[in-house]
Symmetry: D2
C-alpha cells in the first residue's frame, strides 16, 4: 500500500519535507498547498493549491503541516475531521489549549498525530537512546544540553524557548524516558524582540534526573550538544555532526603529574562510535509512516509534543515569576 501524502507549506522547512516525501518508500506526494506559492520551486508536476481545504479535497491519507505555528491548530483540526494522519512541525501549537484540542481530535478520531521534533531523530540521539536502553551507562544522573548559535535570518514568530529549547525538552525526556517535573529558568531579551532570545533552565525529571538546558540565539559559536552523565561514565551527543562519544569512568589512576594537571586523576577509554548516520528528516518521516501503518515507532506523539510545550511554557513562567514551577 502506498500512502497518498499532502504537504501544507513549502517554505524553509516545507521544501525539505517535499524532497523527503518524494524519496522514501511507501509514500506518494500527491498534493501541495501554500497560500504563498512556491518560493523554492519544489512543486515539480504538482499544482500549488491555495489552502488546507483544497489539500484535503485532493484525497490524501497523510499530511505534513509546515506553516507558521499559529496556523497549526486550524489545519490539524480540519485534517483530523477528514480522517488524515498528520505530522505538524514543532512546536505543536501556539498555546497549550490549542495543542490540547489537537491531541483530543486525533485521539478521538483514532488517527496518528505527530509533531516534528526532528532532533530526536538525529543519529547521535537515536544511538544514545539505544545505548542507554541497553544499560551502557547504568543509572542516569544528569542531562545537560547546549543549543547555542547566532541569530538565524529566518523570521520566527516565537522565542528561542519554543523554537529551540523545545528540542532539548523533547529529546531529554525521551532519552531518559521520564517527563520534566520541576523547572526554573532565567531568560534574556537582547535583540529588541518581544520574545526571549536566551533561556537557561535547571530542573528535574519525575525519575529524579537533573536536567540543565542552555539555549540561546546570542552565541557566536554554534553548539548542538547533549551530555548525559551516569553511573558508568558520560555520553556526549553532537547533533550537528551526528557523533556520539562515550567517556568511560576512569580505570587507571594518572601518576604522571604533567598529564594529570589537565586530564584529571584518572582516565577511562573514550570512544566515538561509528554507526549508520541517516538524515534525521528521513528517519522522522519513516517513523511517522510506520506509525500510520500500525507499527510501533518512536514517533513524537501529539501528547508528547503538548507536554514539551507545557514544559517550555512552565520554564518561561518560571523566569517571569522568578519561582520554581512544578508540573
Amino acid at each position: 500500500m502506498t500512502l497518498r501524502a499532502g504537504l501544507l507549506g513549502v517554505g524553509m522547512m516545507g521544501r525539505h519535507h517535499a524532497r523527503v516525501l518524494r524519496e522514501i518508500d511507501g509514500i506518494d506526494l500527491v498534493a501541495i498547498a501554500d497560500p504563498g506559492g512556491d518560493p523554492h520551486g519544489v512543486a515539480g508536476d504538482l499544482e500549488i493549491l491555495p489552502d488546507i481545504d483544497a489539500l484535503i479535497a485532493a484525497g490524501i491519507d497523510i499530511a505534513v503541516v509546515a506553516v507558521p505555528t499559529q496556523y497549526h491548530e486550524d489545519a490539524a483540526l480540519k485534517l483530523a475531521a477528514a480522517g488524515v494522519h498528520t505530522l505538524v512541525e514543532k512546536p505543536i501549537a501556539h498555546s497549550i489549549d490549542a495543542g490540547q484540542r489537537m491531541v483530543d481530535a486525533f485521539t478521538s478520531a483514532g488517527l496518528v498525530g505527530a509533531v516534528g521534533h526532528i532532533e530526536r531523530f538525529n543519529p547521535a540521539v537515536q544511538e544514545l537512546r539505544r545505548r542507554i536502553e541497553a544499560g551502557d551507562l547504568g543509572a542516569v544522573y544528569q542531562v545537560v544540553t547546549r543549543r547555542q548559535g547566532p541569530f538565524p535570518a529566518r523570521i520566527a514568530d516565537v522565542g528561542v524557548g519554543k523554537d529551540l529549547a523545545s528540542h532539548d525538552v523533547d529529546l531529554t525526556a525521551w532519552v531518559v524516558q521520564s517527563d520534566y517535573e520541576t523547572v526554573f529558568a532565567q531568560t534574556a531579551f537582547k535583540s529588541g524582540r518581544e520574545h526571549e532570545d536566551m533561556i537557561t533552565i535547571t530542573g528535574r525529571t519525575a525519575s529524579g534526573v537533573i536536567v540543565n538546558n542552555i539555549v540561546n540565539w546570542l552565541s557566536p559559536m554554534k553548539e548542538r550538544l547533549t551530555v548525559v552523565t551516569g553511573e558508568k561514565g558520560a555520553f556526549v551527543a553532537d547533533t550537528s555532526t551526528g557523533d556520539l562519544t562515550f567517556y568511560a569512568n576512569g580505570t587507571f589512576p594518572l601518576e604522571w603529574e604533567s598529564v594529570s594537571s589537565f586530564r584529571g586523576v584518572s582516565e577511562g577509554d573514550v570512544t566515538r562510535y561509528a554507526f549508520a548516520k541517516r538524515e534525521p528528516l528521513r528517519v522522522e518521516h519513516e517513523a511517522f509512516r510506520d506509525a500510520v501503518l500500525g507499527h510501533e515507532t518512536d514517533v513524537v506523539t501529539m501528547a508528547q509534543g503538548l507536554r514539551t510545550l507545557a514544559v517550555v511554557e512552565a520554564a518561561l513562567d518560571s523566569a517571569r515569576s522568578n519561582a520554581v514551577v512544578v508540573l
Copy 2:
C-alpha cells in the same frame, strides 16, 4: 621590608604554599606548624611546630592557613588577635556564622584577611577580567561554568558545592563585578557520602547577568571552563590550560551549505590569546603580600569569601527545598 610568614598545615595544598612562600620576593617563610607532622617533607631547615599558638609565638607578620575547613575559625581568630594578616584556604569556614566572626575579627583589627579561591588567579580568568573591564565584550549577558571530573582521591570534609562550586561563584561574581542574587539548584548524592557530589545551579546576579554552574565529581572527563556571552561575542576561559579564547560575533554570513550545517549561519574571528601565564598560586600570594603592604589588589577578601559561602549554602538550601532562594 621582608614579611615574616608562618604556614599552618603542610598537607596536599600546604606543601605548595610552602614552595611558593619560599619563591616569591618580600617574604621569608620562618615557621611551619602541623599537628600531623611533615608528610611531604617540605620543612627543610625549619622545625615543624605543633599548633597555631606555637606558630604565632614564632613571631610572624603574615600567615597561611591550610588545615581542614573546620579548624579555620579557631586559627584565624587567634591570628587576628595576634595582629597577623592571614590567608585561609577556601572555603572560608565551616559555617556562615563562623565566617562572619572571622570577617569581623579581621575588620576590627584592621588586618588583611583573605581567602584562597585560587581559580580567580588563573591566568585565563585574570585575562578575561582585564578584557571585560576593557569593554571587549560589551554588555555581559550570561556566565556558564563547567567544573567536572572524576572523584578525587583526597578525602574532603565538604561536598562538591563548597569544594568546587565555590570557585565558580567567586570567579563569576568577580568577573562580572556583581554578586549572585537569585539561585536555584539541583543536587545528587551518588557516592554514598553525606555530602552532594553533583550540583547544577541557575541564577542571576544583582546586575542581571544569567549564571549557570555545572559542577560535579561524577564525570569521567575533566573540565574547567567559564563561558561568558555578551554583546560582542563570547569568551571561553579554560583554567586547566590557562587559555582564553574569544569568539567574535559573526560578520560573514555563510553561504556554502556544506559548512553552514555545522558552523551556523555566520562566523566571526576566533582568537586564542597569548598572554603571560603565571602559576596561579604565586599570583594569589603576590596579591596577598601586596594587600598587606597597602597596595590595591584583587585579593579575595574574607567578606567576599563569606558571600561566596553564603551563595553556595543558598544553592544547597534551594536544592533541599526545591525552591528559589533570593539572597
Copy 3:
C-alpha cells in the same frame, strides 16, 4: 553578453557543474552531452546529446569537460579547433604528451584553456594566498599538506597521486608562487589495484620552499590540511571546513610548568579567521568565466595543469626508481 555553455559529462562531478553553470550570472547552459545518458537527472529541459561533436554543433562559447581522463584530449582538441574556451576536469590528461598537445592547441588558438583543480578555489586556500601575498607570514619556509581518507566508492582510472596529490601540487605551487623543482616519493599499493593508493612526497620549490605531501586512500580519518610555516608563524588551512587559522610566533614565554609541558616554551595568538566562504566550484566557474571575458583571474591554466601532472609523474617515477627527480 551571456556565454553559451556546453557540458560534456554528467556523472558525479558533471551534475555539480550543471547546477553551477545554471546558477551563476553571465552563463547559459545550452547543451549537455553524455554517451552514458543522464544518470542523476540533471538535464531538465535539455536533450542529452550523444557526443562532443553534437555538443559543439549546438553552438557554444565555452565548454566544461567532465568525462574520464582518457577522453580529455580528444574532446579538448576538438573544442579548441571549434574556437570554444574550455575547462577540463583534473588531471589535465592521461599523459604528459597529451597534455602538451592540449596546451599547444589552446595557446595557438588564443583560447582560454583551464583545468579544474578545485581545491585552489576553496575559501581557506584563497584566503591563505591573499594573506601570504599581503606579507602576513613573511618568508615561507615549508608547506606540508595532508590529504587522507578512506577509499572512495567511485571507480577511478588513476592512482591517488593523480587523483588527489595533484590538488596538493597545484595549490602548493600557487600559494607560494613557485613550481616544484625537486621531488622524492614513496608509494604503496595495498588495495589490489595497478595504481598506487598511498604516496608521500618530500621536495623543494624553485624558490627554496620545502614541500611535503602526505596523500592516501588508506586512512580511516579524512584530512584535507595545508600547513604553511614561515617567518612569522604558521597558517593551517582546512579545506573540508573552509577554515584558515594563523598561529603567530610566540611572544610570551610560558613560565607555568604544568602548561608548558604540552604547549611549548612560548605562545602567540591563535586566530581562526572569519571570511566569506563561497562554494569552491562556483568560484572556479566565475574565474573561468572572467578569464574568458578577458579579465585577469587565478584560473588554473592548462600550462599549470600540465606542470602539475609532470610533478606527479616525476614523483611516481621517483618512487619506482628510488631516486630523486629534478624537474
Copy 4:
C-alpha cells in the same frame, strides 16, 4: 641487590635523572659529578665531584651520562674500562666513529650500554608498540611523525636533526621493528646558526614501511605526534599528553550528505585508550636497571642509538647532496 649509581652532569636533564635515580627501587644514587657545579641544587647530602674519574673512583655499578654530546665518548669509554654499565643521553655521540667505539667498548666488556631516547618510553608509544605487536593494526603501511615547536631557550650544540628527529627515528624503527633503509631529506637554516632548524624526511624501512618525519624548531605550535597507518586503521600517539587513539577502518558508509562532506565516505569507531601513564624517564631508568640485572627489556641499546645517529647523518647528507641515501 641495590645498584650503586653515579650521575655525570646535573644540568637541565641531569637534575631529572637525579630525582628519578632517587625515586626508583633497587638503585642508590651515591655520587654526582659535574665540572660546572650544581646549578639546580640537586646534590642534597652528596658532594659534587669534579669529573668522570672521581665519579668512577666513588665505586659505582651503573652510571648516567648527561653532559654535552661532545663529551659522551670520553666518559663512556672510561666507564666501560671501569666495568660500569652506562646510560648516555641522546644522541649517543658527536660522530658515527665515536659512537662505534662506544658500542665496541661496551660489547667487548660485556656491559649494558644504553642511550636515552626517552620518547620510546612515553606511555603512548609503549602502548602503541604493545598493540601493534598484538596485531591490532594488521600490516603497517606508513609511519608519519610530526615534532614541531618554537625554538627552545636552552643552547644546543647540534641541529634539530640530531636533537629531535633522532627521537622519531628511534621510535619509528622500534615501533615497526625494522630499520630505516632509504632516506631523502630537505633542511632549512633560518635562525642564523650553523646547524639546521628544520628537517623533513621521506624514506622507507627495510620491511617496506613508508616513513615521513616532519621536524623543526620553527613552528609556533608544539606537536609531538606519531601516526601509524595500517591494514585495519590508524593509530595516533601524542607524546605530549601520553594519549593513544585508534581510528578503526570504516564499517558504516555515510549517507547523510551534510556529515560526509567533512567526515569522509565511511566511519569506524574512534577510541582514545586509557592505560597506565607513567613518567617516561622513570620507565627508561627501570628498563636500564632491569637490563643490568639481566632481564630482557626494551632499553635503547648503544647499537640502536648508533644506527639512529647513522640514519640522521644520512638524512643530513641527503639534504646536502639533494640525493637519496640508502643505508
